[in-house]
Symmetry: C2
Subunit: 393 residues, 2 copies
């Protein structure tokens, strides 16, 4: 993933010049410009260097565990009986509300470390299991603290409009008012979120409700993104793209109008094959249509306890290829260049180019296709962080 | 997985007494019999103890790599053009034939270490990429050497009837004669294989051809197993069961007659969801029918370069649940008790019971369903090997 033409922008026998925490130059080892030739040299073992990976859609901060609920489903329990037994997203909300910030940091750190062990350098983390002002703020503070403790780049998304909390049951417009009038101003004032997100779906919030939320967020200076067209077509992608969203995510049911609006606005498609797999979905996002219109295809783990308990970025790549038919090159771009674009970080992240941040991953593979191909292997050797090599796996 | 009733045979606050490398007693910590009460005590941190996992169907010994061929497929190349470019199983045969034993040991060790890092204690390893006497023997020697180097239990299966080598193109009966008259006697004489396996399929060998091979193997004292009904129904399962096979493997297309024959013979069903996933198959094995007839359901990685490059046993469990609808308890039994049965090792392996070998895995989970639930996490802490704790991950 350099600016080079050819598959993967791959450069054989490459050299990279670092100036502090930035890349100064990249190219063939036999073409190093004179001004870098007397710089200190470090020879790496053979292998592949990629940009550090970027996971642009996660819910890694949450309380509790949904393994037993998943087991009940596999034993044949209905959704209704699981809900009666206290399962579903509201069980995660209840567990997240009672958890301390330290407890949330500790449980999320385990998941984050899995991701870092496979080359992660930057991550987006959403709120959305607090569903009241205090607990949404708590989740976002935890997300920021994770970045400090692990010295990685964290971008936060406020996802108050994720689900309807029990205390607002059948008062969904009133809850949206709370999101718009209380949560968003508080979070913006405290500088807790880079982005505003929402779940636009028949089982969550309508396109009209999400428009209110995103418009308010935009007026407060937040970037926009949206869970759109996962289970049905709600025209959320078109609405969000028209408001200038950086990404629309899931998109199994997006139609041509949505894709065209995304292409026009430069909105990235964030594909989440982990949720598609875990929920046993059968309708795939319209990859050919998205390609045809030149919509950038990002990939992400969607790590969350209910629909994608996935903390492997290499498995995310494999699922993107196996389940959605991406090429391995698209899958790697989806976790580097396109993911950086989905987070508005493309000027610093997502490719190995002069001027970008020197956060790279070193892999023990002969060919980049091996990253997406293997299921369960981890060829990650070490990560270059702000110009310094650290072993993370 | 003790002899206890109830889900998973789970015992809370358990104690296990070891006598050398064997389990002497297992039960509640408050019910330790007097004769063990003055034995040396080791308190473990909280967590779950399971039997060491058993992977009962693998092809982890091979030369070369098929990632680029997989990439070509995802880029739209046809099977014919891939074959012309030297791809397919015969590319693995060519790379395996030219590889030294040491090279094969080194490449397989990476895969084996991935499996061991998730609690593997015993593994079946097949030949089948040599397809001549010399190279089939080489693969089996490599498999046995892997067991010595990693101090794990290895069972070997001779899989000469895996594919038709190029030098026998359109002479499939002549190749079967070579397998029966030269390969099998040599391998039996040298004690290189515990079992004989074969690929009974329209693109490989017929049920009549496989019957010849399995009958000969049986006469030489080898145990029997068969790749059966993966892509079509060839009545291989019924044939193999009637010969007393320990397992029939894949089984997507097995019918009621095959299932009944397996039930009658006590033949295990070895389910391979990794290949189902990687090949994007849509016909699932008839789980309900297999359950109804009481056929034991084992699970395995099927680790191989062409159709299942899978080296994660926890992902194998998740795929068994997500793709085939197994319960997490069936998935764990599939990699312990049932897998041990499929390898004829049930007297020593596969459950935590007095008299069995003291090879156990310790996991940092609150509930056994978490093992199959998570995608990409590895909660394995350490393994007890012949009565001694060793850290493997």
């Amino acid at each position: 993933m350099t600016a080079d033409d050819g598959p993967y922008g791959l450069i054989a026998n490459a050299a990279i010049a670092f100036d502090g925490q930035y890349i100064a130059w990249v190219g063939g080892n036999d073409a190093v410009p004179p001004q870098y030739q007397n710089w200190e040299v470090e020879n790496l073992p053979g292998g592949l260097i990629t940009p550090a990976l970027v996971d642009c859609h996660t819910h890694i901060v949450y309380g509790g565990n949904r393994a037993v609920e998943w087991e009940m489903r596999l034993q044949g329990a209905s959704y209704a009986s699981i809900a009666r037994a206290g399962g579903g997203i509201l069980s995660t909300v209840a567990a997240t509300r009672v958890a301390s910030e330290e407890a949330l940091i500790n449980s999320a750190s385990v998941r984050l470390d899995d991701l870092i062990a496979q080359g992660l350098g930057a991550i987006e983390i959403k709120s959305g299991y607090g569903l009241d002002t205090q607990n949404e703020c708590k989740m976002l503070r935890v997300a920021k603290e994770l970045g400090r403790r692990r010295d990685i780049e964290v971008k936060t998304s406020f996802l108050g409009a994720h689900a309807l909390p029990q205390e607002y049951a059948s008062k969904s417009d009133a809850y949206i008012d709370l999101v718009v009038e209380e949560m968003l101003p508080t979070i913006a004032e405290q500088g807790l979120a880079d982005f505003c997100d929402g779940f636009c779906e028949s089982i969550a919030f309508s396109s009209a409700q999400m428009r209110k939320v995103l418009q308010k967020a935009k007026s407060l200076g937040l970037g926009l993104r949206l869970h759109a067209e996962q289970l049905s077509n709600q025209n959320g992608a078109q609405m969000a793209a028209e408001l200038g969203a950086l990404s629309c995510d899931h998109l199994e049911y997006v139609d041509a109008d949505g894709v065209k609006a995304m292409a026009k606005a430069g909105t990235k498609a964030v594909l989440l094959p982990g949720a598609f797999y875990f929920l046993r979905e059968t309708q795939k996002p319209p990859i050919a249509l998205l390609r045809e219109h030149g919509v950038g295809l990002a990939l992400a783990s969607d790590c969350n306890p209910g629909s994608s308990p996935l903390t492997s970025l290499l498995l995310t790549m494999n699922m993107g290829c196996t389940l959605f038919g991406l090429t391995p090159e698209e899958a790697l771009a989806g976790l580097t260049r396109e993911a950086a674009g989905a987070l508005g970080m493309q000027s610093q992240w997502g490719s190995i180019e002069a001027g970008k941040i020197a956060n790279l991953a070193l892999w023990d593979v002969d060919h980049p296709a091996q990253l997406a191909y293997a299921l369960g292997a981890n060829p990650h050797i070490s990560q270059l962080k702000n110009g310094q090599w650290v072993t993370t796996s």
